[in-house]
Structure formats: structure tokens, C-alpha cells
Symmetry: C2
Subunit: 412 residues, 2 copies
DNA sequence: ACTATTTGTTCAACCATTGAATTATTTGCG
DNA sequence: CGCAAATAATTCAATGGTTGAACAAATAGT
């Protein structure tokens, strides 16, 4: 999962090449212009001879391609730019959420090459049925990818709930799922992806975690450490530390929605009192703004709220200010604890961020001891509503970039 | 800082040996019985030939020694056990705290080989003077270490405050320090340690961080991820994630004392309201227990509190219960956020933990969503009051174990 | 005394990197 | 137009570290 390519065990001679493959490919991925072999040599510290050999492997494995030479001033033989291949391995991203299914394909360069969203209320649908529909969409995505010369090398599924290491969805309250064994339910269907050494066929993870990963790998790349908050019906956070998602001991990190902001306040369904979710959850904001709860689709409610706030509706503005203040109390605590300098508001919060950011910043300014020396940035997410699906697909291709040897072993 | 020996840049041929030196030495350090070369080969996946070569380097560099063969049943040539050398490099740990100075020396195996504590109220003492006294103690420690065949390879200084990357103590409120440039103040004195490639001569860090590191490397080794809370006048936390201390973007993580537990409550000197420190800080507990604040030394106050609680004093018990509840609210938030399964109460909290743990556990049980599936352990720290100094010294030797090539380059 | 067994070392083969020399391809200048 | 300078990329013998198999060492069991 980590971006650092740390050899876990023995370092044999082959590992040496493996590590340098990852190093060079990582540089190509991180560069904003197609680098030449000479650029890579100076950037990595390897000799040009080694870089050439490594690049030869990468070219043979169709992980990188040669681009038109970037125009350069001065004399000398022109460089040949290296770019991530637009054909070759790709990642499949899947998402089951309360009111839609989403499937997307992301290539090595991080480009979204296929994207489908199927709106439907998934709450009355049985998990097996929802997954079956997803498999259907995935099949179409696979065919579309193949048409574009892409091979699906792995898949990741985002769900709005707690997932354990084996892909068992312990609890997805807003979806009504409980102890859903996703891999077992998918076993009867045709495989979604190819088998690639080192890349798991399917990872199931929390939607907030994968949305945070999407933000981490978006262009331009975000900071190495930040907090990504998904404000849906529940409030989840993805915690990215030093360029890697921190999942917690059991993979259940990020339950920011149950940080206490008014310890003697409203009871919460978690059993505690005064949890953030009771003050800054989507339902709480909508209720505080006096909106009828009848208009159910979550994205509609958020859009309506933004409209009202834009129009200067006093109730909406007050509701957003209160929610932002509650959010700020919680975020200030997290920033104090983890010393982060960036907070990203994603999911349903993104369109509301013009009204949420100011009170959040105000709470940070008054509660964070170190804010005086180091400003904290609070900004909306750059990815859209389907950030989780894109992040899921991106997490697959990042694994290949981080350890290309597995892919090369397969195709050669 | 990380335990994973990830090559940052190019992986050259020499790195290969460097990595395997670290791998083998790490195994020797982690083993609970002196392993043979054959054990190491199976454990690491290297061949016996390679392990022999690597061990030869380690023996020549005096990082490991051969122990008496561990008695083993069955036939075969007896193995020669390998242990971390009890002579060779050692770490120097320093601590400036409100009411004492501490210096200690820890060897490769983690044994404390020298330990001095000088009690004195440091608040009226100028930083330069305090550091001068520390240098004096360090000189004695160095001489003592030399007598035992130890070479000080690096030093770490623990201070109760915020430290930036360059060793500047931005703020140590309870010590009265502000913007104290520790490395500059130490420049006039004789060097505390040898120069070893890859090991910084002096690291200055927060006391809570280093105490957490001490706990991480104590025997038996603690879990890979936990929260270590130092309850002194202020409340600091060291956050250990996946076997590495998480310092935050600027090194200022762990300010748990300012998590809000009663957002509309007592004003705090940080500018916020209802911070944990106002309810579970040492002064708050002492005041709530009705103890005269005159008995100033912090450890005395804590000891007195424990005495009273032991004797069944109602005020003391109530004060501890309230403090534990406030602490539990904050800890529950952290556990929700980071999904940790272990919380260690250290510093002044350690002797009070019999009375603090129950309310902390109660709050966790009622506020942590995932507590039903995965119990959270709350326990006192195993290291004593000078955990920070021991952790500081330990952090130095861990660097050598994690990258032995630097030490070997020096000595031969 | 002999065999089975396990440990540790030796040595030729192998693999990836290295560094210098070589080839390739352009710009700049007379 | 032709040549020198400059930069990019490849070739190749040398090097350093790991490998695997064979071998030496040392013990327990029979």
C-alpha cells in the first residue's frame, strides 16, 4: 500500500532490478514533462547505462512509451521523452453507494478512460443483486477498455461502510448492509480482471479512504499528508500520512463523524453523545436549514442547499455556519493531534465549501496551538462526486507503478 | 526514522549489501533467542552463504558478537548464537524537564548502561545554563560509557515542548522556554558524541514523542501502532503508527491536550475552550482533589494523589474519575479517527492508571463504533518516569540497527 | 566406529550496475 | 556547406554481491 518501495524481506539480485524499475517508473509518473533517459539518470542517481537498461524493460513490458521529443534550446542530440503508456495495464474502480453505482477505468497515467454511473436507490436492493448489477457494468467497462488497448490488472470496490481485511463489509449503515461477504458473492461471476502478480484481484475498502487516495493522486498532486473529509449522510475521513493512506490497525480509521463536539449534546446512534455527525451530517444540515426531508436523493439536497445559500437564504446560511463550526471543532482536534497542514472537504461538502470553510478556519485559528506558525489550508476536493470510484481505480494502477516487476513477469 | 529500510534513491550494488546488513541485524535485534546463521537464513530468505558474509561484516564492525551456543536437542553441528554487541556503539539520551535533568546511555541491545537524574527546579534557570549542566552530566556519561567499551554514536534530547526540524525549541510553556536554539547553544561545548555517518549528532524532540518511542522499543516489544499519552502539567501524545513515530507535517503532532472535551467549557491558555488539559491536566486533577498547590514538584503531587486514592479518599477518587472521563472522551475520538487498539498511559498518568483506566475504557466502550468487534487495551507505560530519556537514547541505537552501513563505514 | 544430521564455509557461476569509450543526432559558427 | 561543440543514448569489459552446490566441521544416536 505504501508508496515507498521497501523490500520486506531478503534483498536478492533480482530485487535490485525490481527496485530500480519502480524507481524509474515512479519518476516518469511523477514528472510533469516527459523526461529523457538522461533526465532520469540525474534525477535518480543511476548511471545512464542503467537507466537505459531499465527503460528497455519498461518499454518491452508496455508500461512506458516514447513521446515526441520535447523541444529544447541549445545544441546536442534531441532527447526522447518517456511517458506512461496509454495502452497496457489499467485499474478498475467500482463503487456502491446509497443512490448510485459507479464503474470507471483509469490508465497508468491516471486518466479516466471509461466512466459509467447508474443512478438508482440501492437501499431496497439486496447486496447480491447490487453486486450483480455492478458486475454487469464492469463487464461493459472491460470490453470498452479492451477496445482501447487496456488490460484490467486489478479492481477496487468502494463502499460507504466498515470493511475488514478480507473484504467483508461489516456494516454499511446507510446502505443497510451488514456482514456482506463481497468476495464470496462475486465468486460466481466471471472474473473482473486479469491475474497480475502482486496486484490483488479485488480490494474492498471504505469510500472515504478511496476518495482520499483519489485526491492524493490527482493532478496536480496534493500534499503528502492531509485529511480528506467526505460529508455524506455519515461523515468519513481518509487520512493520508506521508503519501500513504493510513488505514488503522484493522482498517477502520477515519470515523471522524463520531468525534464529540458537544459531549453533553444530542444522542447519537453510535451510543455516544454530541457526535459531529449530529451537527454536521447531511441530514442535520438539511434539517437545520428547514428543508423538507422528503427530497431524498442526497445530491439533490446538497445542491438545493447550495442554491439557497447562494441566494442568501438566512436559514441555510445559519445552518451551514453551525455545521461548519461543529466541523471546525472536530477538525481542529485532528490538526492538533496529527499536525496536518491541509484539510480537503470532499463528497457532499465540496459544493458547500464556500460556506463551510470560513467557520472551519475560524475554529482552527482559535483552537490550534501551532496555527500561528503554520497556516492550515482548507479547500474543496478537486475530484467530483465519483471521487471514490476514481480513487479506487487509481489505487490499482499506483500499485503497478509502485511495483512494476509483477506486471512485467506476467507479460513476458 | 522508519523501521522499514526503504532506499530513498538509486539502488546501487552497494545498497544491496547495505540493505541486507540492516535486514540481518534487524532480525538479530528482534529475536528473543540468539539466532544462528542458519536461523537467520531461513528467517530472511537469504542463503546461508550470504548470511555468513553479512555476519562477517557485522562481527568485524563490532555490531554483533557470538554467544554461547544455545543448547539444542538432536544431532548436528552446534550452532553459534549471534547477539547484539554489548560493546560498540551506544546512544546518548538527554532530557530537560520541569523538575529534573536526565542523562542515560543505551546500548545496541536496548539495555540502559548508564543513568543519571539530577533533580532541580529548572524553571528559574536560563536555557543556556540548563543545557550547560546537561553537557556536564553528558560528559560523565560519556566517560562511564567509554569505561564499558561503548562509543556514543549520537544523541537525542527530549524537551517538554514544540520543537522544529532544526532543533529550535519554539515553545516549552511549563519550562518557560521560547525560541531556544538548542544546537547553537551547544555549539560552544565539547561534542557529546562521535560523528557517525547517517546518525545525526543531536536530535531535539518532544518529550512525549520520545517516550512513545521508548515504549515501542521496550521489551517485550509493544504493538506496532498505539497512542502513548504523557500526562504531565500539559498533556502530550506520541503517535506510533506501523512501527514508526508519526511526527506530523512539521513535527508538532500529538497535541492531544487541546482536544475539546467540553467545547463551551473552561477557557484554555491555547485560546480555545474546554480543552482536555483543563480537565485532565495535572494541575486540574490536583485542584479538583482539593490538594494545596503549594507542594509543587510534579512527581510529588502525583505520588500524593495515588496515596490518597489508595486510601480511599473520596475527593481524590472523584477527581481521578472526572479526569479519566475527560481523557476517555478525547481518547475515544482518537481511536475512532485512527483505529488504534492500544492506548498507553505514561508520564504522570502511569502511577494513576488504576483509577484512570476504568473511566477511559467506559468512554471508549460507549463512543467507539468499532469497540464491539475489537477491544481496545488501555494500560500503563512499562518504562518509568524517565521514559523520554531512555526513548531518546533508544532512538539513536535504533537508527544504527536500521542502517548499520553508516557505522561500519566509520569504523573500518 | 559409523551414520545421520545440522552448521557454517568455499568457490565457480551469474546477474545487475558501473564507468569509460563509442555512436548518434542536433545546434552554432565560420 | 562543413566542421566543431554539445547532448543523448548504447556498448562492453570490469566489479561487487548473491547464488547454489559441494565440502568441511561438529555433534547425537546406534
Amino acid at each position: 500500500m505504501s508508496l515507498t518501495n521497501a523490500p520486506a524481506g531478503a534483498v536478492r539480485q533480482g530485487s535490485l532490478r525490481e527496485l530500480n524499475l519502480a524507481l524509474v517508473l515512479g519518476r516518469i509518473a511523477a514528472a510533469d514533462r516527459p523526461p529523457s533517459r538522461a533526465d532520469l539518470a540525474t534525477a535518480t542517481g543511476l548511471t545512464r547505462a542503467t537507466v537505459s537498461a531499465v527503460v528497455e524493460d519498461l518499454l518491452a513490458g508496455r508500461l512506458v512509451g516514447e513521446a515526441d521529443p520535447a523541444p529544447r534550446a541549445g545544441a546536442g542530440r534531441p532527447a526522447r521523452g518517456l511517458v506512461l503508456a496509454d495502452q497496457g495495464p489499467a485499474g478498475l474502480g467500482l463503487e456502491v453507494n446509497v443512490d448510485y453505482l459507479a464503474v470507471c477505468v483509469v490508465d497508468l497515467a491516471g486518466q479516466v478512460r471509461h466512466h459509467t454511473v447508474q443512478r438508482a436507490d440501492l437501499r431496497p436492493v439486496a447486496p447480491a443483486e447490487a453486486l450483480a448489477r455492478l458486475v454487469e457494468l464492469a463487464g461493459q467497462a472491460r470490453a470498452d477498455a479492451a477496445r482501447q488497448g487496456l488490460t484490467l490488472a486489478g479492481a477496487a470496490l468502494a463502499v460507504p461502510g466498515l470493511v475488514d481485511g478480507a473484504g467483508l463489509v461489516r456494516l454499511a449503515p446507510n446502505l443497510g448492509w451488514r456482514d456482506v461477504p463481497v468476495p464470496a458473492l462475486l465468486a460466481g461471476h466471471p472474473p473482473l480482471t486479469e491475474q497480475v502478480p502482486g496486484v490483488p484481484a479485488l480490494v474492498v475498502d471504505n469510500e472515504a479512504n478511496l476518495a482520499a487516495l483519489g485526491e492524493l493522486h490527482s493532478r496536480p498532486p496534493g500534499p503528502a499528508s492531509f485529511l480528506h473529509i467526505s460529508g455524506e449522510v455519515g461523515i468519513g475521513a481518509g487520512i493520508v500520512l506521508d503519501g500513504a493512506l493510513f488505514r488503522g490497525v484493522r482498517g477502520w480509521s477515519g470515523e471522524i463523524g463520531h468525534l464529540p463536539v458537544h459531549p453533553e449534546g444530542r444522542p447519537c446512534r453510535c451510543g455516544g453523545q454530541g457526535c459531529l455527525e449530529q451537527y454536521a451530517g447531511q441530514e442535520a444540515i438539511v434539517a437545520a436549514a428547514g428543508l423538507a426531508r422528503a427530497e431524498l436523493p442526497a445530491d439533490t439536497a446538497t445542491a438545493r442547499l447550495a442554491e439557497l445559500a447562494e441566494a442568501g437564504d438566512a436559514d441555510a446560511l445559519r445552518a451551514l455556519h453551525e455545521a461548519g463550526t461543529a466541523l471546525g471543532v472536530a477538525v481542529a482536534g485532528v490538526v492538533n493531534l496529527l499536525d496536518l497542514d491541509t484539510v480537503v472537504l470532499g463528497g457532499g461538502y465540496a459544493p458547500l465549501s464556500p460556506w463551510l470553510c470560513p467557520p472551519v478556519l475560524a475554529e482552527i485559528a482559535s483552537r490550534v496551538l501551532t496555527a500561528a506558525w503554520s497556516p492550515v489550508t482548507v479547500r474543496p476536493a478537486t475530484l467530483g462526486a465519483e471521487a471514490a470510484a476514481v480513487g479506487a481505480a487509481g489505487s490499482v494502477v499506483r500499485q503497478i507503478v509502485a511495483r512494476p516487476a509483477g506486471w512485467l513477469a506476467r507479460s513476458g
